[in-house]
């Protein structure tokens, strides 16, 4: 579904050229859930923006559904770290924004908007304005908006990182449920190991400066996964430990 071949990104900063990403090769299958983890500044958001067509790679090619990405595609939607809701639009109107911009049919999408809002527990809040909602609710609205056009690919840039731990977990579980009901290819950027293990089929670990693909870790824990009592605690611990080691700098030799 998504293919990155020898992708590099170089920014011209004030202090010379910055290699954000170097020679990334990655293939994401249809309906696969991939999480990108890495320390801040390793270029994971940059990678996501390039797949979205918001940014062109300095070299290398990116294809989605076999076509090279040159600009944002209609079947790819992007969910941001911040809710990015329009403050003058009601919850429902915000969810329907892509329908207006992409000039999709009104009636079926209105029905779908109501279904999505129900799915995330926002029935009864359709007429509210964003400032009347909590951060978690706003991000739920944002999730509904990114799903309204039934995208083949959903790109998520640390979408839950600004929320408190419990809301974050709640939304992660919801996201799994939504995805089980409706197949979508998802790339999810996070710096939380927990989130990565909870959500991913495969975890892609990036090293920092320049961002290189360090390792791809498959997560073969049965779904639905939760963070609480868990029948697969051993596997979760194992994968988490592996990711932890990959992300932390190597411990110093003799401390004595």
């Amino acid at each position: 579904m998504i293919q990155l071949k020898h992708v590099s990104q170089v920014f011209n900063g004030r202090q010379g050229r910055v290699h954000a990403l170097e020679n990334i090769n990655l293939e994401v299958e249809r309906n696969e859930f991939v999480t990108l983890v890495g320390r801040s500044g390793c270029g994971k958001s940059t990678m996501l923006r390039m797949v979205a067509g918001l940014l062109q790679p300095t070299s290398g090619t990116i294809t989605v559904a076999g076509e090279p990405v040159t600009k944002p595609r209609r079947d790819v939607s992007f969910m941001f770290q911040r809710p990015a809701l329009l403050p003058w639009r009601t919850v429902l109107e915000n969810v329907l924004l892509p329908v207006e911009i992409l000039r999709l049919e009104k009636a079926p999408h209105l029905r779908r908007a109501h279904e999505l809002l129900e799915l995330v527990g926002l029935t009864g809040f359709e007429k509210r304005l964003p400032h009347e909602l909590s951060g978690g609710m706003q991000q739920r609205v944002s999730l509904c908006r990114s799903l309204i056009q039934n995208p083949n690919v959903l790109l998520m840039d640390e979408p839950f990182s600004a929320l408190d731990a419990l809301t974050r977990e709640e939304l992660s579980v919801e996201l799994q449920r939504i995805r089980m009901e409706q197949a979508t290819t998802i790339i999810f950027v996070t710096h939380s190991i927990e989130e990565a293990v909870l959500l991913a089929d495969r975890v892609v670990v990036l090293s920092a400066r320049p961002g290189r693909l360090r390792k791809v870790v498959p997560v073969d824990i049965p779904r639905p996964r939760t963070l609480g009592h868990n029948a697969h605690a051993d596997r979760v611990t194992e994968v988490s430990a592996e990711l932890h080691e990959l992300l932390m700098p190597a411990p110093m030799g003799d401390i004595a």
Binding site: A52, A84, W88, L102, V120, G121, L129, E132, E170
Partner: protein, 269 residues
């Protein structure tokens, strides 16, 4: 999953609402009453001559004596003010859109705007009369000249202040420039536009009066000039009070419109 409770900004208790009402209406009223009382006291205690400083009672008599005439003149000034104000919106907003759309245009137009704005308006007033005569037109133009600048500046600033995440959202949907403008950038700018409108409306009344001072046969500015010439200070004060009232009504009308149109803006700032 259940919905989380609403944030604390939703105040429901009736006690708080009553307190809001008192601070919103009671305090401004108290200020006005206190000043009038002081003024009245001063005229009585120091027994100041009527033609120097009339007491509030004298002003009320002056008003009551020529109420019909004063209302007519108020209407003239009000119409000039509103016409000039609307004209400055109609012309100013599109120019702001142009300025915000390209750095090139901004660099070309900005010095011109600044130059025009730097000219003391009182200096242009007689020229306007020479060009346009004693009718309403020079007054409308004067109001326009005063209102135009703050409206252009604030609208352009508002159009440029679209938050980065909304700009990215629009990009990610591959929206056209026109869509981005009407669906996101302009509505977002409205909060700033209203800041400019409120500055402009308070200048608008001043503009109308300046123009009436220089050459007019109607309007409150004309009344003030006439009563000054005949030392009828109470009448001048009555006209000035009416000017103040017009200003206040226009300003609060605009503020109410803003609250109605942009209920989100207050929480968002």
């Amino acid at each position: 999953m259940t919905a989380e409770p609403l944030g604390q900004h939703r105040r429901t208790p009736a006690g708080i609402r009553l307190r809001d009402r008192i601070t919103n209406w009671g305090l401004p009223l108290l200020g006005i009453v206190a000043i009038i009382a002081l003024w009245w006291l001063a005229t009585v205690v120091f027994s100041i001559e009527k033609y120097l400083l009339p007491s509030p009672v004298d002003v009320i008599y002056a008003f009551a004596g020529q109420a019909g005439f004063l209302m007519e003149q108020s209407w003239v000034t009000l119409v000039e003010t509103v016409q000039g104000f609307v004209l400055s919106i109609v012309v100013g907003v599109p120019i702001a859109v142009l300025i915000a759309s390209s750095r090139l245009i901004e660099r070309t137009i900005n010095p011109l705007l600044l130059m025009v704005n730097a000219v003391p308006k009182i200096a242009i007033a007689p020229i306007l009369v020479v060009w346009m005569g004693f009718g309403q037109l020079p007054k409308v133009v004067m109001v326009f000249l005063l209102c135009f600048f703050p409206i252009v500046i604030s609208t352009a600033a508002g159009l440029r202040s679209t938050p980065a995440e909304l700009v990215e959202l629009v990009h990610s949907l591959n929206a056209s420039k026109v869509q981005a403008f009407f669906k996101v950038r302009f509505p977002y700018a409205l909060a700033q536009v209203f800041v400019g409108l409120k500055v402009a409306i308070s200048l608008a009344v001043i503009g109308a009066v300046i123009a009436e001072f220089v050459g007019a046969d109607a309007g409150l500015g004309f009344v003030i000039v006439q009563s000054g010439a005949s030392a009828d200070t109470p009448l001048a004060f009555a006209a000035m009070t009416l000017l103040g009232l017009i200003s206040i009504v226009l300003f609060y009308g605009l503020a109410a419109l803003e609250k109605r149109l942009l209920p989100w803006a207050e929480e968002h700032r």
